[in-house]
């Protein structure tokens, strides 16, 4: 009996339906796993070949399983196909015969071990971490690092990466090709860095993971599922980093805490109609308590040692929000203190802007406006809608309605995402309503005094 008929009968027997069920993320997980295994055997020099092999193996699985049904051990099936394809590719490109030998050895080991065991050869976390260090090499630009990570470590398609970065397929393809060429030129090894090199590489990986998370967090419109997926992947990869002694540093804990404590608030970010909600308007009962608890745990872990990075500070700020029962009862002086430290570590305009919000709750809106005066002199910040949004909010709290309206109009003009635009439209509407109301009151008073 041939393999094909076995496959057919397995798929068509109702009782085996359970065992051959494959999960939604199956192909993504397989492509990650294969990337790791093949890069370990072939080295990171030939990521393009590896990518082709992984793609082709997954494609053949799709084509064959469509008609034949899913085999009993889908992961083993894909691995076997991938190893064969890799061997063919080696022969075609006449790559070092040592690699072919390594492939054959791996292949034979696969064949001789029970397939279920062969699917995961126990080196997955190690391979993935090595790959993470390859993708996040300091010689590659952070955005390119993130794109390659999405491809290689997260199993995203070019299309999905293009959607995530609001870019075109062709542009992403080009960037990925350039990055892979760069890795080749650098002659990067597939190893775990040590000593000083480790600190450098870890730092680079942290930046890429932070960027990946932010990319998902900041975009709230368009293809939302993709963006939440980016945050999930960032969390998954940071967990991976912490799973390995090499990556288990207080700073990695802080980064994960920051991600978890931010993600915990996702469920309340949008209203029923899909509008962005400000922190004050969010339903805190919707916050994910399990994520908050995990976040607080890692925040605790991050405090071991004397490292106090920007991730530590940001995680601290996120935690302060998460544990406050209401917006009003938030410990704003604690948040202001943390922002003061963040300004010292990372003196950017956006950080200063956020600090001003905290300041307004501690020392009042006037103090915050005065602080914004000084940071707003830089042109770059004035072209950002958030600057006008915050200034407008502060004016509104001081009942400077006209000035607040001016600010919200500017914010509306600069905002690019639809939910954000809708938010400013609502703010303006609120102002108009309160102005009309005020005018009516003003209109009444003289009449009363005349009476």
């Amino acid at each position: 009996m041939t393999a094909e008929t076995e496959t057919v009968s397995a798929a068509s027997r109702p009782d085996s339906a359970q065992s051959s069920e494959i999960v939604e993320h199956f192909f993504r997980e397989q492509s990650r796993r294969l990337y790791g295994t093949l890069t370990r055997i072939l080295g990171p020099r030939d990521l393009s070949i590896i990518e082709d092999v992984v793609q082709e193996a997954c494609f053949r699985a799709l084509r064959t399983w469509s008609i034949g049904g899913i085999p009993d051990n889908p992961a083993g099936w894909i691995t076997r196909v991938a190893i064969n394809l890799a061997r063919d590719a080696m022969r075609r490109t006449q790559m070092a015969t040592t690699k072919e030998a390594a492939l054959i050895a791996f292949f034979e080991q696969q064949e001789s071990t029970p397939l279920a065991a062969a699917a995961g050869d126990g080196k997955l976390p190690d391979d993935s971490l090595r790959l993470l260090f390859v993708c996040c090499h300091p010689s590659i630009s952070p955005e390119a690092q993130v794109m390659l990570s999405l491809k290689v470590l997260c199993g995203f398609t070019t299309r999905q990466i293009a959607v995530a970065f609001t870019s075109s397929d062709a542009a992403v393809e080009k960037q990925l090709a350039r990055t892979k060429r760069r890795i080749r030129e650098l002659g990067m090894a597939f190893d775990l860095p040590e000593g000083e090199e480790l600190a450098l590489r870890l730092n680079s990986a942290h930046i890429a993971l932070y960027l990946l998370f932010n990319e998902g967090y900041k975009a709230s419109s368009g293809e939302r599922p993709i963006h939440e997926e980016l945050c999930r992947e960032a969390i998954r990869l940071t967990v991976l980093l912490l799973d390995h002694p090499v990556g288990r540093t207080p700073r990695s804990h802080a980064l994960l805490a920051l991600m978890l404590l931010t993600a915990a608030r996702f469920p309340s970010r949008l209203s029923m109609s899909g509008d962005l909600l400000r922190l004050t308007d969010q339903d805190r009962t919707k916050w994910d308590q399990a994520l908050i608890n995990r976040g607080l745990f890692h925040l605790g872990q991050s405090a071991e040692g004397d490292d106090f990075s920007e991730y530590h500070v940001q995680a601290g700020i996120a935690a302060t929000h998460c544990i406050a029962p209401s917006y009003e009862s938030t410990d704003w002086s604690q948040i202001l203190e943390l922002y003061d430290r963040l300004v010292a570590i990372k003196p950017t305009a956006i950080v200063a802007l956020n600090r001003a919000v905290a300041l307004s709750h501690v020392k009042g809106p006037e103090a915050a406006l005065a602080a914004l005066e000084t940071i707003g002199s830089g042109e770059s910040l004035k072209s950002h809608y958030l600057f006008h949004a915050v200034t407008g909010e502060l004016h509104s709290r001081l009942n400077h309605h006209e000035r607040a309206a001016d600010c919200f109009r500017q914010a509306l003009n600069l905002a690019e995402l639809r939910p954000e635009q809708a938010h400013f439209e609502r703010q303006l509407e609120r102002l108009y309503i309160s102005r009309d109301h005020r005018e009516r009151e003003v209109g009444h008073r003289p009449a009363e005094s005349h009476a």
Binding site: I22, F59, R63
Partner: protein
Amino acid sequence: MSLEPTSPYLLIFRDTSPDLYRALSPEERVALLNRWRAWAHQLKDTGKLVQGSPLADEGRVVKGPRGRHVVDGPYAESKEEIVGYFLVNAADFEEATAIAGECPGLPHGMVVEIRPLADCCAVSRTLEVPSASSSQHEVFA
């Protein structure tokens, strides 16, 4: 088993644009597999699907009067590569066409060719290959 007389039809699956498949996201691939699976199960449960299989990527072609001309690789004359087949029992051509029309591969550029098995086949009688007279077979038993 089935009350109405049925005849065997071969559904031949051809891929015309593998690039469409290649462009699918991992999640779309799983969804497509699940659609195939549901389709095959439903055909099987109603006794219509007799047998079926994908074809492996390698193949050979034998030609020439004495079979001396042997070429590796699937028969490459056609751009529409045959990737597999289903053997189904259907009441008539119309039903077989309706079955083929539900193939989940169609939106992805797959082409399904329907060929009735000609009756009075001596080979099927000697080998007990399913013919118009025998419906369900032990392939799925």
